[in-house]
């Protein structure tokens, strides 16, 4: 297998954006290609998108993007893997280059979710639950996170304050990220301790409240991947995809043996670390899939950064803060950067690329060399993890 490098990256601002899905994809793609500034033909275009068919009445997004960018006759496809579509697209592009079939590939992830109302968006995301055993009951993604949180909090002594700390930290980080959807400082007092918190931060799915959940966002992110032959000509420092891991789990959440475990996260992380030949303690910066605050804590343990049940303790000590021992979600994470589902897995890789190129500005993690990302599909039934290494 050949080495694969990230030679360019870009993203749109996340939030509630004007224009259509293709406009967002186009903006991110152009940004990444300009960032790469490589005068070679793009041979493969991999577009991650979960819901254009449902949300935007659009299909064939990959082909449409090739046309917008006049990249013909590049091979193109749209890749759908729920909220892990972005991770999947990066992985498939990796396969293409590592195998030797392609030398230069463009990966773009995007979603335009704010064209529909909040409850239509909730319903759209819920379509990834089990149709007969979950969806018909009105089960939503927050509901699964909530049922998980109830057990997890009880088992490991995680308090609501810990969940709020994740939100507060990620909102703070997002204030340093001009691409982030949510640009709003929040306080423990305002979201939890004051009597007004009942209204400021109402329950979404008990025990999870509004500020435990990511917003519904529009946005796109893109990376350009290249073989060593092309990467050697790159003008900017390259980032190597050192490890990829992916694992699946049962579709119906109730069928998992341990309801306080995110097994696919653990397996995917282990695979990624093994492939990269590094350990969790070698990681300098991580982007985790905090669609819900509890997930950042649980994933930080399943990935091996902290002992099981101790993630909230590390959080409390500030270890996961921007200048802590193990900074998590310097971008603001899904919680505050936003979560345009198809874009997220790519956006995580974009953030890590900036971090490893030391271009992250005020949210730069000092001297970051190894980055890790976790892109969580379904309620953990399809997870992709990446280990990235900064190098020329």
């Amino acid at each position: 297998m050949r080495d694969v490098f990230i030679v360019g990256c870009a993203m749109t601002r996340f939030g509630r954006m004007e224009g259509g899905l293709l406009d967002l994809l186009e903006e991110a793609a152009t940004g990444a290609m300009n960032d790469a500034d490589i005068d070679e033909p793009v041979e493969g275009v991999f577009v991650a998108n979960m819901g254009a068919g449902i949300l935007n009445h659009l299909s064939g997004v990959g082909s449409a993007l090739v046309d917008r960018l006049s990249l013909y006759p590049a091979a193109a496809e749209t890749i759908e893997n729920g909220p892990a579509s972005g991770g999947s697209a990066v992985k498939v592009a990796y396969y293409a280059i590592a195998s030797g079939l392609v030398d230069l590939a463009l990966v773009v992830g995007g979603e335009k979710m704010r064209d529909v109302t909040g409850w239509e968006a909730t319903d759209f995301v819920a379509t990834l639950t089990h149709p007969q055993a979950e969806y018909i009951y009105g089960a939503t993604l927050p509901a699964f996170a909530a049922m998980f949180a109830r057990l997890y909090m009880e088992k490991y002594g995680v308090k609501h304050e810990h969940l709020a700390m994740v939100a507060i930290k990620n909102h703070e980080n997002a204030l340093l990220n001009p691409y982030a959807h949510v640009q709003q400082r929040i306080t423990m007092e305002g979201i939890l301790h004051r009597p007004e918190a009942i209204m400021n931060n109402p329950p979404v799915a008990e025990p999870l409240r509004l500020y435990d959940c990511c917003p519904v966002s529009d946005g796109a992110a893109a990376v350009v991947l290249a073989s060593e032959r092309i990467a050697s000509k790159a003008k900017k420092p390259c980032v190597r995809i050192a490890g990829i891991g992916q694992a699946t789990d049962t579709h119906a959440v109730h069928e998992r043996k341990d309801p306080t475990e995110l097994k696919a996260v653990r397996l995917a992380s282990q695979k990624a670390f093994n492939m990269a030949g590094v350990k969790p303690e070698d990681v300098d910066v991580a982007e985790l899939h905090d669609a819900f605050t509890i997930l950042e804590i649980a994933e930080s343990e399943e990935a091996g950064f902290f002992e099981k049940g101790k993630g909230h303790v590390a959080l409390e000590k500030g270890e996961t803060s921007l200048h802590g021992r193990m900074p998590i979600n310097p971008s603001g994470g899904l919680k505050a950067r936003g979560h345009p589902v198809g874009a997220t897995g790519v956006a995580q890789v974009v953030e890590l690329t900036w971090q490893l190129r030391h271009e992250a500005g005020p949210r730069q993690v000092d001297g970051a060399q190894i980055g890790f990302s976790c892109n969580f599909g379904g309620f953990g039934n399809n997870v992709l993890c990446f280990v990235l290494a900064g190098e020329k």
């Binding site: 004007e18 109302t117 400082r185 929040i186 007092e189 305002g190 209204m199 400021n200």
Partner: protein
């Protein structure tokens, strides 16, 4: 007042006051909710006018109608109207208005949030219901919604009752009503804030400041100013 003006001007009663309250928002900022005075309406109109151009989330229709309602109040053309404002350090972040159809029945007009993401609209709507039920002592408030956000939020969160026979003055759709019972059932989870407001905090809310138009538009559309 000349005779013709006396004919055009509806009779009006002095409505009971809404005692100001302070709400600590998610951001930790303190929002004072207080009555607006009639002479402050021109300032409010300055903030409402630019929103008439904002199509997103029905701001245009809500702002256009609120503008007319406030102007009607200022010029003595609407009977028994009031307006509550939300102020953070004196800066206007939202307003709600309504009026009394009779001593027993209130009419909810509109809710406008001028900063988003902090549930300012929800807090102000709750304050409006608090005014009708607790301070005006009304039996029920008639409500309709123009935006899906409003419909979902008010009708479902408060569990409003249908009033198919009522023609709400904002339009032809079926009216909904908040009864005293529904209000007091919802109050513990929807109506918040502290009274009395500390003197120094109240002082900050004495005069209403309106942010620049570009900033205001950025705040409601999410696009940077």
């Amino acid at each position: 007042m000349n005779n013709l003006e006396a004919i055009l001007r509806p009779p009006e009663r002095q409505l009971p006051p809404y005692p100001p309250k302070v709400i600590v928002l998610a951001s930790g900022e303190k929002m004072v909710v207080r009555e607006a005075k009639r002479e402050e309406v021109p300032t409010l109109l300055k903030a409402v006018a630019p929103l008439i151009q904002v199509e997103r989330d029905f701001y245009d229709i809500v702002a256009a109608r609120t503008y007319a309602e406030l102007l009607g109040w200022l010029r003595y053309r609407v009977r028994d109207e009031y307006c509550l404002v939300g102020l953070i350090d004196g800066v206007l972040v939202g307003l709600v208005n309504g009026r009394c159809l009779s001593r027993k029945i209130g009419i909810s007009y509109h809710t406008i949030a001028m900063r988003r993401g902090l549930r300012i609209g929800a807090h102000l709507f709750a304050s409006k219901m608090e005014y009708h039920i607790e301070y005006l002592g009304q039996q029920e408030v008639y409500i309709v919604a123009e935006s899906p956000i409003g419909f979902r939020r008010w009708m479902i969160e408060y569990g409003l009752e249908k009033r198919p026979q009522v023609h709400h003055e904002l339009g032809g759709v079926m009216s909904w009503a908040l009864t005293r019972q529904l209000y007091f059932d919802a109050k513990p989870r929807l109506v918040v804030g502290e009274r009395p407001v500390a003197e120094d905090v109240l002082e900050t809310a004495k005069t209403i400041t309106v942010v620049e138009e570009a900033v205001l538009l950025g705040q409601v559309t999410g696009k940077p100013a």
